[in-house]
């Protein structure tokens, strides 16, 4: 906090400074996006962008969405410029976040149109991939929500995902898919228990405990896969869960394939998010759990067992993450590879923060990350001049910007990260 040269100004104008600043930043971002869309996407595209919405084999076939690229992008740029200017000049305090969200969506749409101009591209396919790729992130984020709501920072999500993936493959190979899922959930719960024991009972620093669990799981799974799987390949060959079509709903164009033709991990994630929301905000246990995360001492004086509550929630978090881990093996390739979670747990943690410690928020953030992920994959097909590495980076950069609170800051549970020492 430096004392920069603030000329004394009247109080009234200073009061609004903070909100104004935020509106200004938002406005600035939007105007910059407008310029980008107009100069790069608008000027740089020609022809029509064709988005395929359904396959010929679908029961209901919807015609392709054909967008004249240049026109669309100039209109998008104009809309962005309008939104930005409005924020910048009038400081539309109430609509700051909404404008930004809408603006970003518009910019992404413009980008897609630009990238697709003159070609055709399956939008439904990409949305379907988005949902699939969001699953481990959403479950990781949900695991983060569950444990941070009782004030246990969970860096170990990455390790729990990896452990779940490993157990899923191993037990899936031995006993079949469903057993694999159960084993993944159980092993996730076990690491939840270990994390809880370390941070609650033995008061290890929560971040250290998480990092160590990640190193440990990486070590064990890598060791077993190089020591054992090399020799016994049948131990690492699990069945993969196929998508289940939900009757009637699956036939709805666009929405059907995206939401109702998925495997159990997608449905499981959606159900878990719903259940977790009910649990945290509408039940007695949830109220107590949140109290433990906000003010453990108060909870303690009211006869709530802080330690037990933390144990239970962190174990639940582990189980959720374990289930998410099984997605990597049983939900996609059926085989375990060393370090195959590739940082998804950390992204889940970011999804939790971006989603403001709320299960539904975490799911939404995970969908955004999943979208970026699948976009990166699909764009390789469209051969855009933007290196795919940069697209892969955008979610991380976005997370840093969000965490930095440049666009409004969320509040973590008050006791987050702190050990509770009962007197």
């Amino acid at each position: 906090m430096t004392m920069t040269a603030d000329t004394p100004s009247t109080t009234a104008t200073r009061i609004k400074t903070g909100k104004l600043r935020q509106a200004r930043i938002t406005g600035g971002i939007l105007i910059a996006l407008a310029a980008l869309v107009a100069l790069v996407f608008g000027a740089g595209s020609s022809g029509d962008a064709v988005f395929r919405l359904s396959r010929a084999s679908d029961p209901i076939v919807v015609p392709n969405l054909i967008v004249p690229a240049t026109a669309f992008n100039y209109i998008a740029a104009a809309a962005l410029a309008f939104l930005g200017a409005r924020q910048f000049l009038r400081g539309g305090v109430r609509w700051t976040s909404l404008s930004l969200g809408f603006g970003l969506a518009l910019a992404v749409a413009a980008f897609l149109v630009w990238a697709t101009a003159g070609k055709s591209f399956s939008l439904t396919g990409m949305l379907q991939a988005t949902v699939i790729r969001a699953v481990p992130i959403a479950l990781g984020g949900l695991a983060g929500v569950l444990s941070e709501r009782v004030a246990v920072v969970n860096i170990a999500i990455e390790g729990m995902l990896l452990a779940g993936a490993f157990a899923g493959a191993l037990f899936g190979s031995l006993l079949g898919g469903m057993s694999g899922v159960i084993a993944a959930v159980a092993i996730g719960g076990l690491f939840g228990l270990i994390l809880a024991a370390l941070v609650v009972t033995y008061r290890v620093d929560q971040i250290i405990a998480g990092v160590v669990i990640n190193l440990f799981v990486l070590g064990v799974t890598s060791y077993v896969s190089s020591q054992v799987y090399q020799e016994y390949r049948q131990l690492n060959n699990a069945p993969v869960f196929r998508p289940i079509k939900i009757p009637f709903l699956a036939d709805i164009p666009v929405i059907g394939p995206v939401l109702f033709q998925q495997n159990i991990f997608v449905y499981g994630a959606l159900v878990m998010v719903a259940v977790a929301t009910y649990y945290l905000f509408y039940t007695r246990s949830g109220l107590r759990a949140r109290a433990v995360g906000e003010n453990p001492k108060a909870a303690d004086t009211l006869g709530i067992n802080v330690y037990r509550t933390r144990y239970i929630n962190v174990i639940m978090a582990g189980m959720v993450a374990g289930f998410g881990g099984a997605w990597f093996t049983l939900g996609s390739v059926g085989r375990f590879d060393e370090g195959m979670t590739g940082g998804r747990g950390y992204i889940g943690l970011a999804a939790m923060i971006v989603g403001r410690w709320h299960p539904v928020g975490a799911l939404m953030a995970a969908l955004v990350f999943g979208f970026a992920d699948s976009l990166q994959q699909k764009l390789a097909l469209l051969q855009t001049p933007i290196p795919s590495e940069f697209l892969a980076m955008t979610p991380y950069i976005a997370t840093m910007i969000l965490v930095a609170g440049l666009i409004g800051r969320a509040r973590a549970p008050a006791a987050d990260g702190k050990a509770y020492i009962k007197e």
């Binding site: 906090m1 430096t2 004392m3 920069t4 040269a5 603030d6 004394p8 100004s9 009247t10 109080t11 200073r14 009061i15 609004k16 400074t17 903070g18 909100k19 509408y282 039940t283 007695r284 246990s285 949830g286 109220l287 107590r288 949140r290 109290a291 906000e294 003010n295 001492k297 108060a298 909870a299 303690d300 004086t301 009211l302 006869g303 709530i304 509040r411 008050a414 007197e423």
Partner: protein, 503 residues
């Protein structure tokens, strides 16, 4: 329900917090428990509320010996405690806070908030509390938060209510309201325990008084037959004189000149609004006010720890409005922070390291980038003996010292150099009487030797006994001035001003 504590002893390792305490709590009566900071009042009540298990002794409820395994059991037995630091969850609503731990539920563990609201309203009506069950606790003023605590206890149908220093954070007006609630509860047949170190209040509200000193009950009595002086002597163990000896008031030139200062909080609310004040050589200016009326922000602005929104600050004629904390410190401004644990010292640093926490860059203690540890240690040892800090060595961790000695260490660091202006925020909060007296005498010495002193305290008695002039802060503004030039420094008038009474 009658509770008897018989031979209660509580030890923490070698430290005896309570020793052989016998005490009876009766229904329809307010028991005042008096003792200075560190006398063992809170420990005793934590034993009673099941937070601690007594090392020896028994608790009898209606004659039946009872052992509490945890606070839950004490609550079930009908004992409720209102802690000094409220045990509330700020982001929960009043109703959620009230039901926490004894929630009414429907099927599937569903939280029945409607019933909860209803019950809160019923308690509201019975005792005239007037609290909105749907308001978030963090949006409520302190006085109302205390009522939430009381509703919490009543919701659990407590027959015994224990209040730990309940008036510490209240305005005089809120104290009056609070006493009315206490009386209503007593008349409803509840047993009440009122823990405090404030003599006047205990005489006003109690039906019976017990005095705790060094963990033991040293006296019991009827408030109608006791005087403040007698109680004070019982509490401290020796006659206490509340008068301080000062040189005659002879202010010199202006040291600190603040004009039209406005400070914002991080959320852009106004913390300090348009304050102007002066501190001259050889005078103590006291800032009275209930906590949370902008005093902390004022101190931070004066010491360069926060950005100011408008106004100017001059020290000895130099404009320091835009100078850093370090630069102001170098100009002879000393600052005793309001919360030594949070911002005044470092518990895991040695006494010596703490002694140079804000002077380490000085030529005496470092040369270029290199610390001169030998000098640091020697001068620290000097300060330790000069300021009567009781420690085994300067290499002792500051966290191991007692509260009084920690504060004396902070005072030593700030005052053992050439200073011109001392800003002391809550300089004696939570200390024992001996340390309070010592620190007060050092502050008076500074004034008598020609330094300017600005004292910020929520203890009105402290302000009254030390200050030459008194300013009262309310909602970020200076609302009244007493002493030289203003009205005579009269306690009731100041109390009214603290409550925001317009003049």
């Amino acid at each position: 329900m009658e509770i008897e504590l018989r031979g209660i002893t509580k030890r923490f390792g070698e430290v005896v917090a309570n020793s052989d305490v016998n005490l009876t709590i009766r229904p329809g009566e307010v028991l005042g428990l008096l003792g200075e900071n560190g006398a063992g009042k809170s420990t005793l009540m934590n034993v009673l509320s099941g937070l601690y298990e007594p090392t020896e002794g028994t608790i009898l409820i209606d004659g039946k010996p009872t052992i509490f395994q945890g606070p839950g059991e004490a609550i079930e037995a009908g004992i409720g405690m209102v802690h000094q630091h409220f045990m509330l969850v700020p982001v929960f609503t009043v109703a959620e806070n009230v039901i926490l731990g004894v929630e009414p539920t429907g099927r599937a563990d569903f939280l029945d908030l409607e019933t909860a609201r209803q019950q809160v309203r019923e308690i509201n009506e019975t005792y005239g509390l007037e609290v909105d069950p749907d308001e978030l606790v963090e949006n409520l003023p302190v006085g109302i938060q205390q009522r939430v605590e009381i509703i919490k206890v009543l919701f659990r149908s407590a027959d015994v209510l224990i209040f730990d220093e309940p008036t510490a954070v209240l305005t005089p007006q809120e104290v009056t309201d609070f006493f009315q609630i206490v009386t209503a509860l007593r008349d409803a047949g509840k047993a009440l325990v009122f823990i405090t170190h404030k003599l006047q209040e205990i005489l006003e509200i109690s039906d019976r008084i017990a005095v705790l000193r060094a963990g033991k009950i040293v006296g019991e009595g009827d408030p109608k037959q006791l005087t403040e002086a007698e109680l004070a002597e019982m509490m401290v163990g020796r006659p206490v004189s509340f008068d301080v000896v000062k040189q005659p008031f002879a202010p010199g030139e202006t040291l600190l000149d603040v004009s039209h200062l406005t400070v914002l909080r991080e959320n852009d609310e106004i913390a300090v609004e348009d304050i102007s004040l002066k501190v001259r050589k050889g005078e103590i200016v006291g800032i009275a006010g209930v906590q949370g009326n902008g005093q902390s922000a004022l101190v931070q602005a004066l010491t360069g720890l926060t950005r100011i929104a408008a106004g100017t600050i001059e020290l000895m004629g130099t404009d320091i409005t835009h100078l850093s904390a370090r630069q102001r410190h170098k100009m002879g401004m000393a600052h005793i922070p309001e919360d030594r644990h949070r911002s005044g010292m470092i518990a895991n640093f040695t006494v010596a390291e703490n002694m140079v926490l804000d002077t380490y860059y000085d030529d005496r203690f470092s040369k270029g980038l290199t610390m001169r540890w030998k000098q640091v240690n020697e001068i620290s040892a000097q300060n330790v003996s000069d300021f009567d800090v009781r420690t085994t060595s300067v290499f002792e961790m500051a966290g191991h010292l007692s509260g009084g000695n920690q504060q004396k260490m902070v005072v030593a660091r700030e005052m053992a150099r050439e200073i011109t202006l001392l800003i002391a925020a809550q300089p004696t909060r939570g200390l024992d009487v001996g340390s309070i007296e010592y620190i007060h005498s050092r502050i008076i010495d500074a004034r008598d030797s020609g330094d300017g002193v600005l004292i910020i305290s929520s203890e009105l008695d402290e302000i009254l006994s030390l200050s030459d002039r008194i300013l009262v802060m309310f909602k970020g503004r200076v609302v009244a001035e007493f002493g030289e030039g203003g009205k005579p420094a009269e306690k009731n008038a100041i109390g009214l001003a603290m409550a925001g009474a317009t003049q």
